[in-house]
Symmetry: D2
């Protein structure tokens, strides 16, 4: 089994904001080093620079727009995100959906800055569509399972399997992550057994009583 | 004439991104100190922490959402913006418009963190409506003049006068800024003569060949 | 007590779609005539012409955009709505929110066609803001009560009273409707006792087993 | 050469609103019958019933949402559109873009009512993505050419060729239309020579001094 990509999404949890974001990022760095895996963190936009300048960990933005330099007040420009220290970005998370043309523009803008792109999708057809846009990753997350603690790998393994197959057929260069309800080591290995190369997770780590031990449990079965 | 509030919006200009944002912010701090006025800066979201941690200048966000801690991936939470060092935020800029309920929620969320709110509007009726939401400032900017170099105070003084009157009638606690096309000292004094307490400006400073001397010209008539 | 304005919103209920919309509209017309009140209907956009050409009842659109003739595919132009037979429109319903500039443009566009405008709002500050835009009506509906069957006049009378007061202060030309959870005669009179001039209601009529008798109950206390 | 599909989008042109929509639809019906081709019309939502009940012509909606029966005020439900007489719908037109999950939901909702779906896209990657959603048609229209009178088949033939190839590779069941700047007979045949099965056009017909003769010119080279 190859080493998985794990990305921890801090959402707008208070437990993952400001200095608290730095602390969880440090835990991710330490556990990743001990386990020999890659754990990326996706703090809030305003925390990217704070985290990246203090912790040696792959930082992802939670969102990036496809805008170029210019009159785009309030928008998230890829080159600004990259200069703030991010190595990649989530795009089209179910809590921050974009129209199709904008997803494509965001993927292109982020890739032009050398960033990894993870396009989030909600089912097999949208995963297939996202793969056609040639991001590095597609992350399938049935919205109804997000935040439930019930792992997608258990509640709906077919959506993961079907996504992996659809992506292989449409664009084999793209790799599949899965998310929604993932928190424990067995969820991660189940996700990989279904053909995904990693997971996107959030509350299971960030809102855990002890995020570091939650991370240790997550990687314990690798 | 009271000392005006000047806010420089860096938009997504490359000249105001990353380290360049820090440099323009430092110029704003220096010119403000020399002239005895307040100059705030509104860099991109990912640059707020970088600027605020290096330059002693009032930093504004370009946008803030009304979200609470929780599952709001990619959204801009007021407490995160505040912890990153911002003292206020633009809300509803014409390049990042919000629905009415969200403007109200953003104003409340930012104020709950002790931040100043500047709600941007496009004409007299929307200025009146924004004043009813009780932000600290309303900034009226006719979108057709933004970025033209033709100051609103000259092209359409009635929209400024009318906005000042409407706000006085609806909610005299709110103060009026004006924007669009402002760049020189005479634009600023004209804006104040029309009853506004300050200006929102962008390209005239950030894209100037020499932002520092553009700022010096801006405050030269006070 | 003046005769109230009652507007029945058909939403996208299957019980209020197509020919079923025509039938409920006819019931509204009949009950209104018997009771000497005004009952308007707000069917789906594609049903406006069908209803207005078959039933002599005031028809409202559920939504209208502020667009002018031109390249606005998929948008709802006021003059088209008016030519289809509508006499007014809901604007900014909580299920179809608009940004502030667009609410203002929609109100202006609809009024230019001689249509009544009912701007929907979610709390007292947004009601005050909407009143500043000078529509004919503002309809305050706390979203958390919509569809519950618990009338706003009972669950949160202060939001109605406060809205009426705020509107009186900001723009006494505007009249206040209230909605959310309204279905029975006592809800209507309670709403009017709180200072509103009428109600917006939906499921209580459209999804009733017998819409005609639900309407008869609604007007029974006038 | 197979008989093409021609769809005339009435946008919100005043020349294609209300009774004027009925007249242009009648011209489309007549010219289609004379030439032995299929010409569909896409009037505004509020004109669908008016047109379909008076003219025997395939009527398309300009937009449809993916909503089910329920609390979706102001939304466009597929079953309502279908009951109003439409046989299909544009989805995601560049003037009415949808997020990816909503495009998929709209396609499914329309197909569940037996309607044809035409998903509009702006370049080759988004065309490929849309094809993965399995609509009946994808219509590629570079937004910068819309309304220019310069046909895409001449200004950017590669976007049409590339779209046809991408769709063939991703999902050969989907057929490609092209749009933007199409108005004359030679534009239509050029579009078909590039592999598309038809065209989407608008101002070239609806705003023509004589729509009927513009339509006759359009089909003159078949």
């Amino acid at each position: 089994m190859d080493s998985p990509l794990i990305v921890v999404n801090f959402k707008t949890y208070s437990q993952g904001t400001g200095e608290a974001a730095v602390k969880i990022a440090a835990a991710c760095r330490d556990v990743a080093a001990d386990a020999g895996v890659t754990i990326g963190v996706a703090p809030q936009l305003c925390d990217i620079y704070r985290v990246s300048s203090q912790v040696d960990v792959p930082v992802y933005a939670q969102h990036v727009d496809g805008v170029s330099p210019g009159s785009n007040t309030g928008h998230v420009m890829a080159s600004c995100v990259q200069q703030a220290g991010a190595v990649g970005s989530l795009i089209n998370h179910s809590e921050r959906r974009l129209n199709l043309a904008d997803i494509e523009a965001s993927v292109r803008a982020a890739q032009a800055e050398g960033m990894n792109t993870i396009v989030c999708t909600n089912n097999i057809p949208t995963t297939a569509a996202a793969a056609a846009l040639n991001p590095e990753y597609v992350a399938v997350e049935p919205p109804e399972l997000i935040g439930t603690g019930v792992p997608v790998s258990q509640a709906d393994p077919d959506v993961v399997r079907g996504s992996v197959e659809a992506v292989k057929r449409i664009n084999p260069d793209v790799q599949v992550l899965c998310g929604a309800g993932i928190s424990r080591g067995e969820d991660l290995t189940a996700a990989m057994d279904l053909g995904s190369v990693g997971v996107l997770l959030a509350s299971g780590i960030v809102k855990a009583e002890d995020p570091r031990s939650a991370l240790e449990d997550l990687v314990s079965q690798l």
